[in-house]
Amino acid sequence: MNMTTTKKLTVVTPASWIPGPEQGRWTYADYTTIVEDGHYEVVDGVLYLSPAPSWDHQSIILEIVIHLHRWVQIRGLGRVCMAPLDIELSYANIVQPDVFIVLNKHLDRITSSHVIGTPDLVIEVASPATTRHDFREKQRAYACAGVPEYWIVNPNAHTVELLLLEGNSYRSPGLFFGDAVLPSIVIPGIPVQAGQFFATV
């Protein structure tokens, strides 16, 4: 979709105008009191506002969920969930990954209001407006929380970068696209090709 008249787009940004604790001190309890509309997250106690997602962004999420859900259900591996669902990674980190998986052994982390603890796999569709946040603050938050696997999907280039946690940080086995099958550790053998996530865009 090319809108050549577009001038300036907002990106994920610290939401310092929302009443509440000072930046750096937000917790889940404060976060749940926000009455303003919007997609908020707390990383390291800082409240961020994300812009509304695009049509393509949502189409890609839908394809990913369909493929993952099918495989995870056939194999009886766990639960596939999608945004907007809150995950309290830790005291000062509340995020809404685009897609995430909680394996059976960790289903006790799912409560009626939100997930408390780390998912086993998170997937972010890194649109231009969220790319920097997804690569910086959220990658750090996922690594610190011990999320074992993180997929970063580039909706414009139609690529998936797979990150595996090694110690405190992620190692990238590479960038996958087209017919490539993703060498996931958390859901090994998933028979989906990277290009299938972009079938509708």
């Binding site: 001038k7 231009p128 407006a129 790319t131 690569f135 910086r136 280039a157 990238s172 960038l175």
Partner: protein, 206 residues
């Protein structure tokens, strides 16, 4: 796909910027410019925080965009007599233990003494990285941190697939984003004020 009668295996995986632990030299975390300059192996390398990284080979769209942006910056700095523009592969030693090759960078007149025969020593005034999918993570994590620490006042991150530019300005120790620009937008650059080129022009050759 065939070329010259040979079947070419379809590439489905690209390598990304990655720590180059196989290159002989000091242990990771301890590399400095002199070690880097002594590397005999082919390839593009950078040192960030003493860690040696190998960069993947750029693709054709990356190079086209770098060419366009360089041409506009070159004309602008020439006409306004404001400074010098250079492009990769040229070494910039930001600080001890940080040696990078920005895709494009600008050094204003008042800082021309930072240019030496072999490399730039110190911070450029503006760096531009065309963040292809296989370098984006490095450009946004390690390099952004390195540019911020070195005091590079302005950093443009170009998304070659979405045809956007994100403009970052240094505030204290971190960058603040001014937003994402595309199409007819003009970049509100502080280092090159009144830079008159619409962002969409960077991508016309694609």
């Amino acid at each position: 796909m065939t070329k010259g009668g040979h079947t070419m295996k379809r590439v489905e995986k690209l390598s990304v910027t990655t720590p180059a632990t196989w290159i002989s030299g000091p242990k990771q975390g301890c590399w400095i410019y002199e070690d880097y300059a002594a590397i005999a192996e082919n390839g593009r390398y950078e040192v960030v925080d003493g860690v040696l990284y190998m960069l993947p080979t750029p693709n054709i769209n990356h190079q086209k965009i770098v060419g366009e942006i360089f041409a506009y910056l070159q004309s602008f700095t020439h006409i306004t007599r404001s400074g010098k523009v250079s492009l990769a592969p040229l070494d910039v030693e930001l600080s001890y233990g940080n040696v990078v090759q920005p895709d494009i960078f600008v050094i204003l007149n008042k800082h021309l003494d930072r240019i030496t025969y072999s490399r730039v020593i110190g911070a450029p005034d503006l760096v531009v990285e065309v963040a292809s999918p296989n370098t984006a993570r490095h450009d946004l994590c390690e390099k952004e941190d390195a540019y911020a620490r070195a005091g590079v006042p302005e950093y443009w991150i170009v998304n070659p697939d979405a045809c956007t530019v994100e403009l970052l300005l240094l505030e204290g120790k971190f960058y603040r984003t001014l937003g994402l620009y595309s199409g007819d937008a003009l970049l509100p650059s502080v280092v090159l004020s009144n830079f008159p080129v619409q962002v969409g022009r960077f991508f016309v050759a694609l």
